[in-house]
Amino acid sequence: MNGQSLELTAAPPARHIPGDLAMWCFILAELAVFGVFFLVYGVYRRQQPALFAEGQSHLALLLPTLNTLLLIAGSACMVAAVKRFALDRQAAARRALLLAMVFGSGFLLCKLYELAGKFMAGISLSSNDFWMFYLSLTVFHFLHVVLGMVIVAAVWWMARDGRYGPGRLDGVETAAAYWHMVDLVWLVLFALVYVAR
């Protein structure tokens, strides 16, 4: 692979929505839910700064930081996968999809470990407002990572018979778009809940 950008057409590329419009409607709706959640968190925190600061002090940074790196790596793999399908490098593309799922699984395992620790310490939705938000946000996001994995797995499965290729990228781009949304949301969540203290 040389270091130059690829131009598949000579003319400037037309504006193009990566993946399915219907999926983008869904993505926007998901962003809306998370956005509302984050902003309401912001309001509550502002009203009870000490409570939230105290809760955050119980959150170790190592695992969440690792989690962020894992999701970013997963996103990078999805970008690579789309590009490889566009270049008809089927086997390499499928490997990229698998690697994305490996990173995603890593995220899920770390997250499960973290949540298990909290539950064993007796923390629940009713413990206090901070823990209510922490659990709701992280579990809700967790479910989205699971869904993202399912979508990517479905694409990987269907790629086995050469369904995706140059000019036939809709499915992969759609899956990638969803994955990136999950990543994007996590970047905000990570900053807000874990790091901003």
Partner: protein, 475 residues
């Protein structure tokens, strides 16, 4: 299909009906006829209770308010169930590309359901409720006395058996036939309907738990699995009348139901604000239910978009109108009016007021009554041997659509005005009035509501008449 089951099909008048693809789809017809009949009953009782709001002793003691209300709401649910069943019997064979597993079973089930339903209504009207309870085995397993679930135990068991028979019939058809997104979503919704109905048998002694699980029937029905049924029915009609590529329509359907489930499941929490459940429901219920309008918005955009991209001019314009109307009215009634009271900070003041009634009427009509009427509008001509009704019949049907729909808007606006009055006088005020005092201020709105109710009934009569209008047949 055996000869016996062929014989069980409703006999066609003249030659074989070539408008329907599978002969067994004809079993849908009695279900739809029953649905309309019960709909008429529902509205008659609606008029009675609407009148009783300002003339409290109308028909007292023969039909007191509580009884009439019970009949009104129970008839609503039952006619919609007949509608869903008819829809299922029509669309599953067509989607699965094979005859219904057992048309005979469908007909038997129809009569069982109709007779059981009729007896139940007669029981409500003819007996004191406690006597009905005693006679029907409520002492064995108490399930009566809860809103919308007032049915005697034996009726509830009957509903489960009818549902199982229906689901068995359709599932067997689906299992050996073609699987499409529409048929799968329809079956998921219908199975969900049956499974969540089982919670009507769960009646904890603890009042908090009682209310907690009651919503597992009511909310998870109308803001859950019924939306799947609605989506599938709408998608089916749109595929047929617009000719738009099935793949496009099915993709939209999956996204719509995904949004429904994501928002509606935790969204159940908007019923858990004040009943004694933990406080975190005020947050979770508000956030998720705030987005429950999204799937209805998507259904509206979806319907209009599909019609705009249509590949054919289907002669059944009435059905297309009903489909588009369903999108708009469900979004307004379920989505917008629902949103008005869904945030806990607002609901604190509007809970249990006329706002709920305003929302409830437009939502039920806009979403479920209209989707059933959409289905009937599309299928009835076919079941009667023609692609679409005559221009004259369609014109009357379309007029009926507008009269009923505008009447419901009138009812909703009247009740919304009542709600604003009620909330400001009884809840928001520095010197709140009592409930009864407030009701006196609302009386004019109840009169207006009744007037619109009469309009609605007129529209319904026009609708029924349209079935009997002949005139030049569309081919």
């Amino acid at each position: 299909m055996s000869n016996a089951t062929v014989a069980a099909l409703p006999a066609s008048k003249a030659t074989v009906n070539d408008q329907i693809k599978y002969r067994s789809q004809a079993v849908a017809k009695p279900y739809f006829v029953a649905a309309i009949g019960l709909f008429i009953g529902q509205i008659l009782f609606g008029l009675i209770i609407g009148l009783q709001y300002f003339k409290g002793d109308f028909l007292f003691p023969a039909i007191p308010f509580g009884t009439a209300r019970m009949v009104h709401t129970n008839l609503l649910i039952v006619w919609l169930l007949f509608g869903f069943m008819g829809a299922g019997y029509f669309l599953i064979p067509e989607e699965c590309e094979r005859e219904l597993y057992s048309p005979k079973l469908a007909i038997i089930t129809f009569w069982v359901f109709l007779v059981a339903g009729a007896l139940t209504i007669l029981g409500y009207l003819g007996l004191p409720y406690n006597v009905l309870a005693h006679l029907t085995g409520n002492d064995l397993l108490p399930t009566m006395g809860r809103g919308y679930l007032e049915q005697p135990l034996i009726t509830k068991v009957g509903i489960v058996l009818v549902a199982l028979s229906f689901l068995f019939n359709l599932s067997m058809t689906l299992l050996s036939g073609r699987k499409t997104s529409i048929s799968i979503v329809m079956m998921l919704g219908l199975w969900g309907l049956a499974i969540f109905f089982l919670f009507s048998f769960v009646n904890p002694n603890n009042l908090v738990l009682d209310k907690y699980f009651w919503w597992w029937v009511v909310h998870l029905w109308v803001e859950g699995v019924w939306e799947l049924i609605m989506g599938a029915m709408l998608a089916f009609v749109l595929v047929k009348v617009t000719g738009v590529d099935r793949e496009i329509i099915e993709k939209w359907l999956y996204l719509i139901i995904a949004m429904t489930l994501i928002t509606g499941i935790i969204g159940t929490g908007h019923h858990y604000f004040w009943i004694g459940t933990p406080g975190y429901w005020q947050l979770l219920g508000s956030v998720f239910s705030a987005l429950e309008p999204v799937p209805f918005f998507m259904m509206t955009v979806f319907a209009f978009n599909m019609v705009k991209r249509r590949r054919r001019e289907h002669p059944n314009q009435a059905a297309t109108l009903w489909a588009l109307g369903t999108g708009v009215m469900s979004f307004l009634g379920a989505g917008v009016w629902g949103f008005l009271g869904t945030l806990s900070v607002v609901n604190y003041y509007t809970h249990g007021t006329q706002l709920t009634a305003a929302h409830g009427h437009m939502a039920f009509y806009g979403a479920y009554a209209m989707v059933v009427l959409t289905m009937i509008s599309y299928t009835m001509p076919l079941l009667r041997g023609r692609e679409a009704n005559s221009a004259a019949a369609q014109k009357l049907e379309k007029t009926a659509f507008w009269v009923m729909t505008l009447a419901i808007v009138g009812i909703t606006l009247s009740l919304t005005a009542a709600a604003v009055t009620q909330v400001s006088l009884q809840r928001l005020s520095a010197a709140p009035l009592s409930f009864m005092e407030t009701q006196q201020h609302i009386m004019p709105m109840y009169w207006a509501r009744f007037g619109f109710g009469l309009c609605f009934f007129t529209g319904l009569m026009m609708y029924v008449t349209s079935f009997f209008v002949t005139g030049k047949r569309e081919s």
